[in-house]
Structures are given as C-alpha cells and as structure tokens.
C-alpha cells in the first residue's frame, strides 16, 4: 500500500472525475437510464470500499458482506412500509435521519455480534462462517411474511431529508457520489492511522503483533463493525435508489459479486473497489445487451482475471509502472 504508484493514482483520480461529470452530461443529453446505472455503480463502490477495509487492509475474507446491504435496505423499507400501510408507530417514519440511523445501528449491532463469533476462526472457516451468518439473514428475510417474504417489498417513498430530494435522480446521484468520496477519505485515514497499521501488521504476522503486547482481536472487531456500518449505509442508499428491496440482495452470490468487484479492481489499493465495480457494471451492461448468454464471456473474463491478473486492475498498473 505504500507503493501507491503514480499511474494507479492517476487512473483512480480520472475515474472519480469521470464519475463526477459523466452522469450530468448524460442527464442533460436525455438518456436518464444511464444515470441509474451510475448510481448503482457508485453505491456498489461504497459497499466494495467497505469490503476493502476487511479484505485489503485487515486480511479478513468476509463472504457475507451482502447481508449489510440487505439490513441497511430493510432499515429504510420497513419504516416506510409501516408509514404507508399503518402499524408499528414507534418504527414508522418517512424521516431519512431515523431510517439511516436504523440502518447504521442495526448493521453495527449485527457486525458486533457475528464478528465476535466469526473472528475466532481463521482462513476458510472465516469465509464459511461469515457466509453462514448472511444466509441466516437471507432466510430470516424470506420468513418475514409482513415484509413481503420472498416477494420483496416496494419502498413507497424515498427517505425525507431537508434540502435534498432523494426521489430526484440527480440529487440521489449527488448524495451517493458525495458519500463515496467521504467513505474513501475515511477508509484512507483509517488505513494510515495507528489502528490501520496494527491491522496490517496482524495480517502479515499475527504472532509478532501478539508478542508486542497488542491483541489484534479488538482491532479486527472494530474494523469489522466499521465495514458493516459503511455497507449498511450503502444498503440504505440502495433502497432509495431501487425503491424495491428483496431477500435476493443478501444471497451468497451477491456477496460473491461484491468480492469479485474488489478483487477485479485490486484488493490492495483503496481505489480498487471503485475501478472494479465500474468494470463489473460496464461488463454486465454491455454484455447483457449483446446476448442473453452474457454469463459466458463474463465467466471467462472472471476466470482470466483471477488466473493472470494477480492483484486486479490496480495491481497490473502497479507492476507496469515498476518494470
């Protein structure tokens, strides 16, 4: 991470600038669908960046990160559901502060409990136990008849905030993009704080960290909770974006996709998830229009990236500049 090459920084910066300008151009040129695509991209990049904190910084391969997207989304959907249909007055509200507070609180709580258990395991067992917890959320959501169960839940109104109208695509995009910048900044600062250094040291050599009198468990748990909170926040944005939420958001293959985005972009670079989710969405967009068999080229690219593109796009750029 110290080797933030100029080239990858330039590419990452260029990505951000394009993201800032392109949707505006598209909106005023008349194709309003593309702003949807870019909003989704940015939200996924936020979730991906939170996963980077675990995967890249702390070396914790969580295979259940989609659970937080789902929790955050339902934390918006459920109060709206009650506010529209009646019932549960203490919960029902269109108020965005309340909904986003719920999203963050529930995610933090879930991360704290499951993290305390999961972090006792290592390696593949960690992958599997995080997957198990997210599958529990998946099946829990399926069992909740009140919230549409398997059929999902329509979100009848966007979160209400002063000054910004989240039901306006441009406002929503602005909020999402601003959030992405903020999240990138926070994660960057975390990574280079003493806290981040303990995480990275523990990733490289746990024994040495233990020997120096520091117990990495607490640090890892805190990182796990922070990553959960950020992903939960992304989930709340997702609910406002799609206005429809379903247990499907939490299924294990969704967690796999998030992971794929991070690794595709590069799990050792803070802008990797952004680059990865951009390419992921772009590939999905282009390929799915080209053929209904688009999973075939998609799968082949996935395979090739893993086999030959070690370190993802950002990793390749770094190697280029070093040679």
């Amino acid at each position: 991470m110290e080797g933030l090459s100029k080239k990858s920084a330039v590419v990452g910066g260029a990505f951000l600038i394009v993201l800032a300008i392109l949707p505006l151009v598209m909106f005023f040129s008349g194709n309003i669908f593309l702003i949807d695509i870019f909003t989704r991209l940015v939200i996924l990049a936020i979730a991906g960046t939170s996963l980077y904190l675990l995967l890249g910084v702390a070396g914790l391969p969580s295979f259940g990160h989609a659970a937080y997207l789902g929790l955050g989304a339902y934390a918006v959907g459920i109060p709206v559901h009650y506010a529209t249909m009646g019932g549960a007055e203490w919960l029902a509200s269109y108020n965005g502060w309340w909904q986003f507070f719920l999203a963050i609180f529930v995610s933090a709580l879930f991360a704290l409990i499951t993290g305390a258990i999961s972090l006792r395991t290592r390696g593949v067992h960690f992958i599997m136990i995080t997957m198990a917890f997210s599958q529990m959320i998946f099946y829990a959501l399926i069992s909740l008849e009140e919230y549409g169960a398997d059929d999902g839940l329509s979100v009848y109104a966007s979160s209400e905030f002063p000054f910004v109208m989240l039901d306006n695509p441009l406002h929503l995009y602005g909020v999402c993009f601003g959030s992405l910048l903020l999240v990138l900044y926070i994660v960057h600062r975390l990574q280079h704080s003493p806290f981040g250094r303990v995480l990275q040291a523990a990733k490289q050599n746990e024994t040495r960290v233990l020997a120096s009198g520091v117990n990495p468990f607490k640090y890892r748990l805190l990182a796990y909770v922070m990553a959960g909170v950020i992903a939960g926040y992304a989930g709340a944005l997702m609910a406002n974006f799609s206005l429809f939420i379903s247990p499907d958001m939490v299924e294990w293959s969704r967690s796999g996709e998030l992971m794929f985005m991070v690794i595709l972009g590069g799990s050792q670079h803070i802008l990797g998830p952004l680059v990865g989710s951009s390419l992921f969405i772009l590939l999905e967009f282009v390929l799915s229009r080209w053929t209904i068999y688009w999973h075939l080229p998609f799968g082949i690219i996935l395979l090739l990236v893993v086999l030959f593109g070690r370190g993802g796009i950002m990793g390749m750029l770094r190697r280029d500049s070093q040679s």
């Binding site: 194709n31 669908f33 593309l34 398997d150 059929d151 999902g152 499907d248 958001m249 967009f285 209904i292």
Partner: protein, 394 residues
C-alpha cells in the same frame, strides 16, 4: 491506460444507441428468458411473434417493434429491465410478466412514467384490489380466480378433504387463499415450499405428509419446471392410485410433452381449472392454435394464449387511435373496451381492468395423434369477477 480509454469509449457509445426507428409503435415485453423459467418465457415470445405475423407487423397503420427483456426470474432484475424499457427505450407500452413478485416490483416504474402496463400472466391480489391503477390491464386472470374455480370443481366432484401444496411466493399464497375461499370440505394440511431460481424440487417430505393425512384429494400449484418434477414424484410415491390430483397452472402444454416422454400415465384424466383450452371453438382461438402448431410444432400453453391476446389488445387500441399513443388517457380508454377477438371468446374488463370471464374444468387426454393435451369437461364459473374488484376504488 488503454483499458480505461476502452471503458470510456464503450460508455460513450452507449449514449447513442437509444435513438432509432421513431415512427414505430414500441412495445416492451418483459418475461423470463434465462434460468428454468425460460421455458415459459420462450413460449410467450413465440406467441408474440406469431401475433405479429398475424397482424403483418402493423398496428394502427404503423410498424410494430417489440423489445424483449429478461427478468432472470428475479424481481430486482425484472424491475431493472422495466426501468430500461421506460427510461432508455422510451417504449409506448409495456407488457409481459409471468411472475407476480416480478410484476409487483416492476409495475410502479411504469405507472410513474404514466405509461400503460399489461400483464400477460401474473395477477396478484394487491394490484386487483387496493393498489389498482387505471393504467394497469390484464389479459390473464386474477390469481385467486382459477383456484376458486378449482374449489368449486372439488365440491362438484364431492371431495370432502383436501391437501394443498404451492410455492411460497405471492401467487402461491393467492392460489391457496382462492381454494380456501370456495372449497366446502376440510383442508387437512398444506405446505408452502421454497421458490425462486433455486426452488425446492424434491417434495419427498411433503408428499409423505400428504399421504399420511389421508386426504381425498391433492390440489397443487407448481408452474413451470417444478410442475413436471412434482408430478413425477407424485406418481413415484404411489399416490396416483389413492389420492386424485387436481392442479392449477401446473399441467400445461409445456409440461405435458415431457410427462408423456417420461411415461407419467398417472396424470391422464387428472383435472384442473382454467379460463381457456386449446380446443375451444372460436375463430380467433382456432387461428391461434393452428398457426402456433404449424409454426412451432407443438401445442401453445395458456401463457402463449395470454401473450397473443395481449398483443391483439394493444392492436385494438392502436387501430382505434390510428397508431397515436401520445395520450395515455386515450390509450387507456380504448384498451378498456377490450374490442378484439380474444382466444377465450367474449370477455370484458372489470373496474380493476381484470377480465370478467368464464372458468372451465379441463381434463388431461390423449388426442387423435397420440399427443397429450387438455380438454374442457364442464363450465365451472360464468362471467366470473375476482373478489378484489370490490376493494378497488376505480
């Protein structure tokens, strides 16, 4: 660096794709073209293409362009496909939708844009009742109607006790509710099983329960590939002799050839309720079934029939308006007349724009050529309106 340039170029080129053929009537058609559900989606697409052929690709004097989109059997994907049709392709009207949950997730996107949406299959209770909308039409049925007809049929067949099975999603619950509404005997047990792209297909535990319940009849709703799997296990479990099977949307032109191939003779003679059957004697239906069999070499399913009707319904409005779909209220007004020759014969729309139509009992038979198909045995309901229409404020 060049990878980035490629990405930029690709995204820039996407901006220009939206503009094309502006004088055609554009119909967006959302159905399932991947996963196991694609069997149904392909049948619907074939029927739409046949309808286009029968109308010489013209509606109200204008060429017709149908854009098919895949919902991947998932509500979220279906909604995304609908958004694309509305926002990017700027279609005049949206049709299709096999699955109730996909329709529920998608229909608000269409209404928000003040366009008309026509369901060619799904008929969830919410859209028929509380959440009904003037811009929504159906060429199929409300989910509860067919099971209500089945309940009546069971009464007529003097079934005293019943075991019910359906998948656990919007339509499955509607089906169960529908049977419960009209069936006069006792429901001794029911199971709702996992649905979706990874639906439960092994019903051993449930069939054992059904058998142990000693019910006089077994009523199930398993659309698509699950239907075939269910019927095989029903016969393998030896229930065919002791517990007659009654079905809703389970035994159709898609599953019968496969069941015949697998020699599942237990299904012959089994009864179901339905608003239509391929042998129905009206000119539109004869033309449709003959044309379909000639073009594709198989019987059309009811999904195909409804899709064929949806296209003709759109045509009726286009013809009345000379192809001018600029005013949604005018389109709506014309559609509501249902002024076309339906494959089911006469029908009209209720206040919630669900069809008011007859329901029949159909039986599985072997036709003159040795193919398995269905045949109407009796009329169960005449001009039946769904029970949610009363709660719709339109």
């Amino acid at each position: 660096m060049n990878k980035f340039a490629v990405a930029l170029l690709a995204s820039a080129s996407l901006c220009t794709t939206a503009m094309a053929a502006d004088d055609a009537i554009k119909v967006g058609f959302v159905t399932t073209l991947t996963t196991g559900g694609a069997v149904i989606g392909n049948d619907m697409r074939d029927a739409v293409n046949l309808a286009l052929e029968h109308m010489d690709n013209t509606m109200g004097g204008k060429p017709v362009e149908v854009l098919f989109e895949d919902d991947g059997f998932k509500p979220a994907t279906g909604k995304q496909a609908t958004d694309k049709l509305i926002k990017e392709d700027d279609v005049d009207i949206v049709a299709g939708y096999i699955w109730s949950h996909v329709l529920m997730a998608s229909y608000r996107s269409v209404l928000k844009a003040d366009k008309v949406i026509i369901s060619a299959n799904a008929g969830p209770s919410a859209i028929a009742g509380k959440l009904c909308d003037p811009n929504f039409f159906s060429t199929s049925w409300q989910n509860d109607q067919t099971p209500m007809a089945l309940g009546e049929l069971l009464n007529a067949r003097d079934v005293k006790s019943l075991y019910l099975m359906a998948p656990n999603y919007a339509a499955g619950k509607d089906m169960v509710a529908g049977v419960e509404r009209t069936f006069g005997g006792e429901i001794v047990g029911k199971d709702l099983t996992k649905w979706g792209a990874d639906a439960q297909l092994d019903f051993s535990a449930e069939l054992a329960k059904a058998k142990a319940s000693g019910a006089e009849g077994l009523a199930v709703f398993y659309p698509g590939k699950a239907g075939g799997a269910f019927i095989k296990q029903y016969q393998q479990a030896g229930l065919a002799e002791s517990m007659p099977l009654y079905t809703m949307f389970t035994v159709d032109a898609l599953s019968l050839p496969k069941l015949q191939e697998a020699n599942m003779t237990g299904i012959l003679g089994s009864e179901m309720s339905m608003f239509w059957s391929p042998e129905m004697d009206n000119a539109a239906n004869q033309k449709f079934v003959a044309g379909f069999r000639e073009k594709y070499g198989r019987y059309p399913s009811f999904y195909a029939a409804q899709s064929y009707d949806a296209m003709n319904l759109i045509k009726s409005a286009a013809d009345a308006l000379d192809g001018d779909f600029s005013s949604t209220s005018a389109v709506r007004f014309e559609l509501a007349k249902a002024n076309f020759d339906s494959i089911r014969g006469e029908f009209e729309f209720g206040n919630n724009h669900m069809p008011i139509q007859n329901f029949y009992a159909r039986k599985v038979i072997e036709d003159a050529d040795g193919n398995w198909t269905t045949e109407i045995t009796k009329t169960v309901f005449e001009k039946h309106q769904d029970s949610y229409a009363a709660t719709c404020s339109m």
